[in-house]
């Protein structure tokens, strides 16, 4: 009993090759949108948009947003969100800096001290993510409450421990692998973000992580009935998010050459979530695309950077970004209904055509009858 719709499904997936699994219609739309935006800004800025200095800036924006977006994607697949990564991004480099000072004071060399201090800071960041995960899954605390609390906690500890004034993170800029630049155009932090994005995509598409986190977000009861270790994998997702916050804080801080408890605000997290949603990963869980969401981060980064290049007033800038996100979301959401609408219209027209032809045929045969 293969229905018509199943025949359609058969046709579209019967010759599926490997890449087709990951790149579908939505990802291609996101790529095209990004290209259109490049063209738009290039045109409007009369070429300034693609100047090397701006490419560098654009990649820096993409890196900031991209890391958090990719961290949120698995969590959103589980039907949750994490609002704490920016707090971790504030705290981790401060811990890194203090440990580094301490190690150097104890006689360790510059690089070994930096590396070990950074690894410890990142371990701590992962642990904070772990706490988030445990509180939410085992503690049964609502994910918004838990992650917002963690955000306040980490920001608070950063403020209490190090004050609100920025600490110089000097010498870290001597560490090429943190804050350096390749050829003056490619920032090393962007490579870190890209590596993290690839890690998330690999875990999601190629390992059980993706399967289980999707199952958890699709229907947590059925996933548990089937035996999926839902709690464990949600905790893993939060650990990854904590690590992302750690990387963002330390790597980004190395470029800026100073770290402070107020470096990152939660605005960035909200932009990252918006980027993920625009890229196709929905908030309800179970649905989305990591590749698409990364392209969504690129898109928002482009909007941020492009409007700056065009000299858009900083006050109107926020409003424009918000409006742009809304417009994109509405048009994305209604794209399907538009297609369905046109299909329905054309079907109606077809039936009208057929009926009209039948009526005409009837008239003609009646005319013939009357003539006879």
């Amino acid at each position: 009993m293969t229905t018509k719709s199943q025949i359609g499904i058969n046709k579209s997936v019967s010759n599926i090759s490997a890449w087709r699994h990951y790149i579908g219609r939505y990802e291609i739309i996101m790529a095209i949108l990004n290209i259109l935006i490049i063209i738009f800004f290039y045109w409007e800025s009369r070429g300034r948009y693609v100047a090397p200095a701006n490419i560098y800036t654009l990649l820096r924006y993409t890196e900031d947003l991209g890391i958090l977006t990719m961290a949120e994607v698995p969590i959103m697949f589980a039907g949750l969100i994490d609002l704490s990564p920016t707090g971790i991004a504030n705290l981790a480099p401060l811990i890194d800096w203090s440990l580094w000072q301490y190690f150097m004071g104890a006689g360790m060399g510059f690089y070994p001290a930096l590396i070990i201090a950074t690894l410890i800071a990142w371990l701590l960041a992962a642990f904070i993510g772990f706490i988030n995960g445990v509180v939410i899954t085992k503690g049964k605390v609502n994910f918004l409450i838990a992650t917002v609390a963690m955000l306040f906690l980490t920001d608070g500890i950063a403020l209490i421990g190090w004050g609100g004034w920025p600490e110089p993170f000097p010498g870290a800029d001597r560490a090429f692998f943190f804050g350096g630049t390749v050829n003056g155009i490619l920032p090393i932090p962007f490579i870190w973000a890209l590596a993290f994005a690839i890690l998330i995509m690999f875990l999601f598409y190629k390992t059980k992580f993706g399967v289980y986190i999707t199952a958890a977000g699709s229907n947590v009861t059925w996933a548990k009935e089937a035996g999926v270790p839902v709690d464990r994998y949600i905790i893993i997702a939060f650990i990854l998010s904590g690590i992302a916050g750690g990387i963002l804080g330390v790597i980004d801080g190395s470029v800026v050459r100073e770290v402070s408890a107020t470096n990152f605000t939660s605005d960035l997290t909200l932009e990252a979530i918006a980027a993920a949603v625009i890229g196709g990963t929905l908030l309800i869980g179970g649905k989305g695309t990591p590749i698409g969401s990364f392209l969504g981060a690129v898109l928002i980064a482009q909007l941020l950077d492009g409007f700056t290049v065009l000299g858009v007033n900083a006050y109107t800038y926020d409003a424009i970004i918000g409006l742009a996100i809304l417009v994109l979301m509405v048009s994305t959401g209604s794209r399907e209904t538009l297609t369905q609408y046109f299909r329905r219209i054309s079907r109606l027209r077809m039936t009208e055509e057929i009926e009209h032809q039948q009526v005409v045929a009837n008239w003609n045969s009646n005319d013939n009858k009357n003539k006879q």
């Binding site: 997936v13 599926i16 190629k206 399967v211 699709s218 009861t221 996933a223 089937a226 035996g227 270790p229």
Partner: protein
């Protein structure tokens, strides 16, 4: 030929808050036999299945599997012992493709990397047992009809089961031909693969058709147990109807 004792349910109690779902259930399943669990909705059949499959823990009592007491902390513990289940709500994840559903918790991996090609091939084999028309195994489960989702759930359990197969109303969404097929599979796995089968159904005809022994449950208790040879469909219908009517008269239902 019915073999040695596979599962013994001993005095299992389970409550959901103030509602007592199981009141001291005792039951035995042997290798190579099909046991039917008969009863109306709300009798506690699904709760018992959820406990045996490891999804719930009993409040009191224990499970003895192959002579040893077992405690399941999750369905994975039960699966490791060779117990597979078809849940009443199917537990088929709609956002995952068919082949990932079939291999859910049984994924084939090499160094942690999913082996999709093999899983897709084997899924087709798992589904072929049921002979229900299915689209490609790469299709998301949300695109399947109810019967096809049920086929996925049954295929999953039958493909992986080693010792004990639990089927909770597995023909609920299926047509006549497919239902007969599922009953045949239940019997086949018992006889040919020496698997123990618990088949839950509210339908007396189905129970009598598929089972070697029938347990009748009512309000959390096993009321009686009968072997197929010692009863008939008419007798079962008669007994059960009388009980339900008398309970209704006494306003117990």
């Amino acid at each position: 030929m019915v073999g040695e004792e596979l599962l013994r349910v001993e005095d299992v109690w389970k409550s959901y808050g103030p509602v007592v779902a199981l009141r001291g259930v005792n039951m035995v399943v042997r290798r190579g036999e099909v046991v039917a669990l008969l009863g109306d909705n709300g009798a506690g059949k699904s709760t018992l299945i959820k406990i045996i499959s490891g999804y719930l823990k009993p409040d009191r009592g224990q499970l003895i599997f192959e002579g040893k007491p077992v405690r399941f902390n999750s369905p994975l513990d039960a699966k490791r012992l060779g117990i597979e289940v078809v849940h009443q709500d199917l537990a088929v994840i709609l956002d995952l493709p068919v082949y990932r559903n079939i291999f859910l918790t049984h994924e084939i991996t090499k160094n942690g990397i999913l082996q999709d090609k093999i899983m897709m091939e084997e899924s087709k084999k798992a589904l072929s047992v049921l002979k229900i028309p299915m689209p490609e195994v790469t299709v998301k489960a949300e695109a399947l009809s109810g019967g096809q989702r049920q086929a996925t759930a049954v295929a999953r359990a039958t493909y992986f089961v080693k010792k004990l197969l639990l089927m909770d109303e597995p023909t609920a969404g299926l047509g006549v031909v497919e239902s007969k097929r599922v009953l045949a599979i239940a019997k086949q796995y018992a006889k040919e693969h020496n698997v123990g089968v618990i088949f839950v159904t509210p339908n007396i005809f189905q129970a009598y058709d598929v089972a070697d022994r029938i347990y009748y449950m009512e309000q959390g208790k096993i009321i009686f147990e009968k072997r197929k040879e010692e009863t008939t469909v008419e007798e079962l219908t008669d007994t059960i109807t009388k009980r339900i009517l008398s309970l209704r008269r006494r306003d117990k239902l």
